[in-house]
């Protein structure tokens, strides 16, 4: 449990716009570590560069400076922000997509996909096309797809951001259940303090642009968690206050 899975040192990323000759620093000297099997949330205001950090971890974007060390056998799997479900494939084909790219035999693929459809509650929708599904169902497909080839590290980029609160609560509970059975290392990005505290072992708080980590808070609740019951715990609200205070103290609107 104490083994390090991800180590990020001095990570800096900037964007340059040639038309206006402007340089924007998206993330500045970001540093953190994630232990194997740990669930870490990065919380911060929109535009603070948290998605950029995650995309760099996923290898979808290049870094400008610093180092990242991903100690895993395989590249990380990503659950994306918006509807990333491929509209021309059925639910089953979407979930099996990473396996089909690797040329896994149809029979093996079918067995593995069935397992994940079961795990994510999609069995009844296996042959539906995504445009028939609700937003919550589509995100279940994204989660199932990210789990299908069983990679060690799971990166989640505000996967439940576009969902209504009830659906989000249900999916958070299911994600916790899945995480507890699979023991994956998870880095989860969110702008919701509530969501971060509900899910994480540790919450990293990011400042507004240029984003950097300003706090590393341990979330003390026992596992397995009940996403509804934990709201009766006074510590939940103390931590909520703590994170909000940190976010407010760095808010640019406050100094303006």
């Amino acid at each position: 449990m104490s083994e390090t899975a991800i180590e990020v040192r001095n990570l800096t990323k900037a964007f340059y716009d040639a038309d206006s000759d402007r340089t924007t620093v998206a993330a500045y000297e970001v540093e953190f570590e994630v232990k194997r099997g740990e669930f870490v949330c990065i919380v911060g205001p929109s535009g603070c560069g948290k998605t950029t950090v995650l995309r760099i971890l996923a290898g979808l974007e290049s870094k400008l400076g610093g180092s990242i060390d991903m100690r895993s056998e395989n590249p990380p799997a990503m659950v994306f922000q918006e509807a990333s479900v491929l509209p021309w494939l059925t639910v089953r084909e979407n979930v099996g997509f990473p396996l089909s790219l690797k040329g896994v035999s149809a029979e093996k693929r079918r067995m593995r996909v069935d397992e994940l459809l079961e795990l994510t509650g999609l069995t009844d929708f296996a042959d539906a096309l995504p445009h028939r599904l609700s937003g919550g169902m589509k995100q279940r497909v994204s989660v199932a797809r990210a789990l299908v080839d069983d990679r060690e590290i799971l990166l989640m980029d505000e996967p439940f951001g576009a969902l209504d609160e009830q659906t989000r609560l249900v999916l958070q509970q299911e994600l916790l259940r899945i995480w507890e059975t699979t023991g994956k290392t998870v880095v989860f990005i969110t702008h919701s303090v509530d969501e971060a505290l509900t899910l994480a072992d540790r919450v990293l708080v990011m400042s507004p642009r240029p984003g950097t980590i300003i706090a590393d808070l341990t979330v003390p609740f026992d596992r397995p968690r009940d996403v509804v019951e934990m709201r009766r715990d006074k510590r939940f609200w103390d931590l909520t206050y703590e994170v909000w205070r940190l976010l407010a103290s760095t808010s640019p609107e406050r100094h303006a």
């Binding site: 979808l60 590249p75 990503m78 922000q81 509807a83 021309w88 790219l101 797809r145 080839d149």
Partner: protein
């Protein structure tokens, strides 16, 4: 019937199904709406509102058409035209789609090859027909080539546009799932561009018949275009109209067939 619908009254269910039934009705009507035009024409011609020498009534044209059908004369021409159009169409569409995919996905390819196609595209296809006749002779090869050229550009530009509109997130998904460049090409870019490709296929079908008619006027001994031209030379106006109707009907049916294919292969897009 499931439990949820069991609680609805007959009236409510009727109301519920009405939009779908209306949609079916309109689809059926849409197949027949061109017939309305013919009806107006017939009446105008019979009443001498329009000159019968130039616009014989559709019933007279139908009579001529029937003779030609009975003598199988018309089928030779239809066969020749269809063969030229379909071979030329495939010859143009396949490279058009492939190059469209490449240019859509690769900015360097777009930078280098884009200007060449942009310069060639505006050349009227009919204007280069004499040149093509010179190179490929008066046989079918020249017809294949001139149609292929017309079809190629429409598919190139529509496919390229479709690929460039591929949401970045689909490409990210592919990359994260470990797709090779080749897989990204055929499993992401191609399906994502399919609605645009079908738009290109429909436009190209229309142009194909325009081009083949002109090509058969000039250098052919068979085909519907040749038949129209030959009828003009003998002032057989009714036969001319048969030719015009036939070639229009061919184009119309081709587009209907493509729309059916699109509903089958692009079920996720709105129609």
């Amino acid at each position: 019937m499931s439990l949820i619908t069991a609680k609805l009254t007959e009236e409510q269910i009727r109301q519920l199904k009405a939009p779908a039934q209306r949609e079916r009705l309109f689809r059926t009507i849409s197949y027949f709406s061109p017939i309305l035009l013919l009806l107006l024409w017939e009446i105008a011609s019979q009443l001498n509102v329009i000159d019968r020498r130039f616009f014989p009534p559709p019933s007279a044209i139908a009579g001529t058409a029937w003779q030609m059908i009975a003598s199988f004369e018309i089928f030779d021409h239809i066969g020749a035209t269809l063969r030229r159009v379909s071979v030329g169409y495939v010859m143009g569409a396949v490279p058009g789609i492939l190059l469209g995919l490449i240019l859509g996905l690769s900015q360097p390819a777009r930078r280098v090859l884009g200007p060449i196609f942009a310069a060639l595209y505006p050349v009227p296809k009919i204007a280069i027909l004499p040149l093509i006749l010179l190179i490929f002779g008066v046989g079918d090869a020249s017809k294949f080539v001139v149609i292929a050229i017309g079809v190629f550009f429409l598919l190139l530009y529509n496919t390229m546009g479709g690929v460039m509109q591929t949401p970045q997130i689909y490409l990210d998904v592919a990359k994260n799932a470990g797709a090779t460049r080749f897989q990204t090409f055929f499993r992401i870019a191609l399906p994502s561009a399919l609605p645009n490709i079908f738009t290109g296929l429909r436009l190209a079908a229309g142009s194909s018949y325009i081009i083949i008619a002109a090509a058969e006027f000039l250098g052919a001994r068979s085909g519907v275009g040749f038949f129209i031209w030959a009828s003009w030379q003998t002032f057989a106006v009714s036969r001319m109209f048969v030719g015009i109707v036939v070639i229009s009907a061919l184009g119309y049916l081709t587009i209907l067939a493509l729309e059916a294919l699109e509903r089958r292969f692009v079920p996720w897009a709105k129609h």
